[in-house]
């Protein structure tokens, strides 16, 4: 059911996006025919709309390079989603932010060393340097957290800002070097998908696959680590080593994401898909797969956008696509999205309202039963003036109206012939008996076994009676059967009884 709804929703979203893309491509064609200067659309911005041929080539992945880059970035997104889910559960999402900033001095140092050795700039060396300082920064955060009274968040902010400052200081020095061709280094900060070669993309693809495999291999261990760290330690698992492995995977994803999305936004690949997937499922495996899917889709969207509009920063598009998925999940998520929560809340409040109305009717009929000497079967046949019901229960006009609307909608009450009085229907009678019975069983239980003062039981029972399950009702019945007798609806324990309350003068 839930799955069906999710599929439906995602289908609708995909359809919407497809429609938009179609409209864009068509409007482009028309504008091109009419004026020939398509670039002047969108209120004077300088965004060049691509030709239809470009769109076709990009969407059909005709270029070898685009195909390689798309595969690589999608794999990166998937790996980010997988690792990010664990990171989110460890409540350490922002650690990825610190790690990504910490990679800058590593890149600069690796560049300087490579220049000194005369080897020139090579991607693996730079990434190795990035991984080195990333890991160092992470270790420093852990040390500050463990060995000083500086709090977690402050430790993250300190390491982030100081390492990034060091990185920028080094970059400024590098730009002064006579031999240094530092032009490529800035790409690590903002990312440049468009300039990625097929070789770079293959490196990303390979590394992402390794990360994904490690996640799959250590799935059980990481799951234990995330959900119950202390239990894992007590069971003798090497929790420190596992934690290190997880953090190592975080560093790996960050480093391989530097080129594609850039240092400042790679953190989004680790945080957003994982956070979005949590709205759809409570099961770890399902939510990890979803996170991987969202990450991969965002990556593809970014690559497509950067191929269509070379001016747009690809990293930012990837992040915005992920944010869009997050917003959609936030609202429509099947497990704890806003709509789902609102719907459930509405259902519960309707049920509570229904039970209040039914019990009020039952109790009114019960109180007035002796005046007209009806038999027990026709106890609930009497009609109640709406105004009187309202007075008896102290309800406001609006509340009564709301309650009655629920009652009428579910055909539990109906207007009597006079037109101003209300009456239980046949179905309503059954439900009213059940609701009153639950309430009184619970009250009796509280009074006898839970030592709750008689003045308070009504309120307490009011809160709990709507959520007790049928099996609890059965248990209560068994518990109370001996003393209360097996009546269909027990007598109201709140009614002053001669023996109990007479002495109190109630």
């Amino acid at each position: 059911m839930k799955l069906a709804r999710s599929i439906l929703l995602w289908g609708a979203l995909a359809g919407l996006l497809g429609g938009l893309a179609w409209m864009v491509s068509h409007s482009d064609g028309q504008a091109g025919h009419e004026s020939g200067v398509a670039g002047k659309s969108l209120a004077g911005t300088a965004l060049e709309w691509p030709s239809r041929e470009t769109i076709r080539r990009v969407l059909s992945l005709a270029d070898h390079n685009t195909r390689a880059v798309a595969t690589g970035v999608a794999a990166l997104g998937a790996a980010g989603g997988l690792v990010g889910t664990f990171l989110l559960l460890r409540k350490r999402s922002l650690l990825s932010d610190t790690v990504s900033h910490c990679t800058l001095p590593g890149i600069a140092i690796a560049f300087l060393l490579a220049e000194n050795a005369g080897g020139g700039r090579s991607l693996p060396v730079l990434l190795l340097g990035a991984a080195g300082t990333g890991a160092l920064g992470m270790a420093l955060v852990a040390a500050i957290r463990a060995r000083s009274r500086v709090k977690d968040d402050a430790a993250l902010a300190i390491v982030l800002s100081v390492f990034f400052g060091l990185g920028i200081a080094l970059m400024v020095v590098i730009q002064q070097l006579p031999t240094g061709n530092a032009a490529g280094l800035a790409n690590f900060i903002y990312g440049k998908t468009a300039s990625m070669t097929a070789g770079d993309a293959r490196l990303i693809l390979f590394a992402s696959l390794v990360v994904a495999l490690a996640c799959a291999a250590l799935f059980k261990e990481f799951k234990l680590l995330c959900f119950d760290f202390e239990f894992a330690r007590a069971q003798g698992w090497p929790v420190t080593a596992l934690d290190l492995a997880l953090m190592g995977l975080v560093v790996a994803v960050t480093v391989i994401g530097l080129q594609a999305v850039g240092m400042l936004l790679v953190v989004a690949m680790l945080i957003i898909p994982a956070a979005a997937a949590r709205f759809w499922s409570h099961r770890l495996g399902v939510s990890m797969l979803l996170a991987a899917g969202i990450g991969a889709m965002s990556g593809l969207a970014g690559v497509a956008a950067s191929a269509l509009f070379p001016k747009l920063p690809a990293g930012a598009i990837i992040v915005l696509a992920a944010v869009f998925c997050f917003a959609a999940s936030f609202v429509f998520g099947a497990e704890r999205g806003l709509c789902q929560c609102w719907w459930q809340q509405r259902r519960v409040s309707r049920r509570v309202a229904r039970q209040h109305l039914l019990r009020a009717l039952y109790e009114w009929c019960e109180a007035h039963a002796d005046a007209a000497s009806h038999g027990p079967g026709s106890l609930l046949d009497r009609a109640v003036e709406a105004a009187e019901l309202r007075r008896a229960n102290g309800w406001s006009e609006a509340r009564l109206k709301g309650l009655l609307r629920t009652g009428f909608a579910e055909r539990l009450v109906s207007w009597s012939y006079s037109g101003s009085a209300i009456q239980l229907t046949a179905q309503g009678k059954i439900e009213a008996r059940r609701a009153t019975r639950n309430h009184r069983l619970w009250e009796t239980f509280l009074l006898r076994y839970a030592d709750v003062a008689p003045q308070h039981i009504h309120h307490n029972a009011d809160q709990i009676e709507h959520v007790i399950e049928p099996d609890i009702v059965n248990e209560l019945e068994e518990l109370l059967a001996a003393r209360e007798g097996a009546s269909l609806v027990p007598a109201n324990p709140e009614q002053p009884r001669a023996g109990v309350s007479g002495g109190l003068g109630l």
Partner: protein, 305 residues
């Protein structure tokens, strides 16, 4: 090394901004919202871009307004995501500031022919060129001085409320102070500070100066007023030593590595690095003190268990 008037202005400006950041930063740290500084410094970008696009100028007022709105929006959105979606606070902040920063990058890139704004200047700043204002007090120095005055005044006026909210928000609420409003005001001050500072020193120094001096001070004292005084001291010291390191270190290291003739590096970045070094020093000092302090019980009377 030849010290010129320009160097003095750099140190003075950097110092004033560092002091101005250290005050709200101390309370952000105590509220456990240190990473909010990082979040805000990223998230003000769309605010700035929109302000530029609307006014077509680099006037200070619309810029500050845009950034302040973006900063408060960050805090409010983070809270909304955290409460409504039951997302962990760090992840909520990450989602919000990444989204806003990405929006800002795209806005700037799309409108780059109209707007003379580069994302780089938000990150690095250029204190070295900002203080060039021959013959009189540079504009950025005046702005930083005013910022410090305002922040000091606000801290002095709301000291009681800030202290209460930082240490016990629940008690503050029962006493009739609106803890949420105080925290939001703090975020507002932090985002205005961030945007006024980034123009001259870049956001990296702001993030560092918001948290690092306060954290260093918190290792040395338990009293709030001493924490603020020490944080101000650390902030001023990092500014002075940072600039000194920026103009001397590259040449010195370059000469050792066989790359003579290297000029100065970014002063703002080195100020952040020196602040980190001072943090390490006070961390070491506090661990030393703790080690000697914990030896004492050996000589005291035996405890009865």
């Amino acid at each position: 090394m030849n010290w010129s008037e320009l160097d003095t202005w750099i140190v003075v400006t950097g110092g004033l901004i560092s002091l101005a950041c250290a005050l709200p930063g101390a309370f952000l740290m105590l509220n456990r919202q240190s990473m909010l500084g990082d979040g805000i410094s990223h998230a003000v970008l769309p605010g700035l871009a929109v302000a530029f696009l609307l006014t077509n100028s680099r006037e200070v007022l619309p810029m500050v307004l845009g950034a302040a709105i973006a900063g408060v929006l960050t805090a409010l959105l983070t809270q909304a995501v955290q409460r409504l979606g039951q997302v962990e606070s760090g992840a909520a902040l990450g989602v919000v500031f990444c989204g806003l920063f990405a929006t800002g990058l795209i806005l700037i890139r799309v409108a780059s022919d109209k707007v003379d704004l580069d994302a780089d200047c938000v990150l690095y700043g250029s204190i070295e060129t900002a203080v060039v204002d021959v013959g009189r007090v540079p504009r950025v120095t005046l702005i930083s001085g005013g910022l410090l005055l305002v922040n000091a005044l606000l801290t002095w006026l709301f000291y009681k409320e800030l202290r209460l909210v930082a240490f016990d928000p629940a008690l503050a609420t029962t006493q009739g102070f609106n803890a949420g409003a105080v925290q939001l005001g703090l975020v507002l001050v932090a985002s205005v500070t961030t945007v006024l500072a980034f123009e001259s020193v870049g956001s990296i120094l702001v993030i560092a100066m918001l948290v690092v001096p306060a954290a260093s001070a918190s290792l040395l004292t338990r009293r709030l007023h001493w924490l603020l005084i020490l944080a101000l001291g650390f902030a001023g010291l990092s500014a002075g030593l940072g600039h000194l390191a920026a103009i001397t270190l590259p040449g010195w290291i370059g000469a050792k590595l066989g790359q003579p003739g290297l000029g100065a590096t970014s002063s703002a970045a080195m100020m952040a690095v020196v602040a980190g070094a001072l943090f390490l020093a006070s961390w070491g000092w506090s661990s030393l003190v703790k080690r000697f302090a914990t030896r004492k019980p050996e000589f005291s009377a035996p405890r009865h268990c």
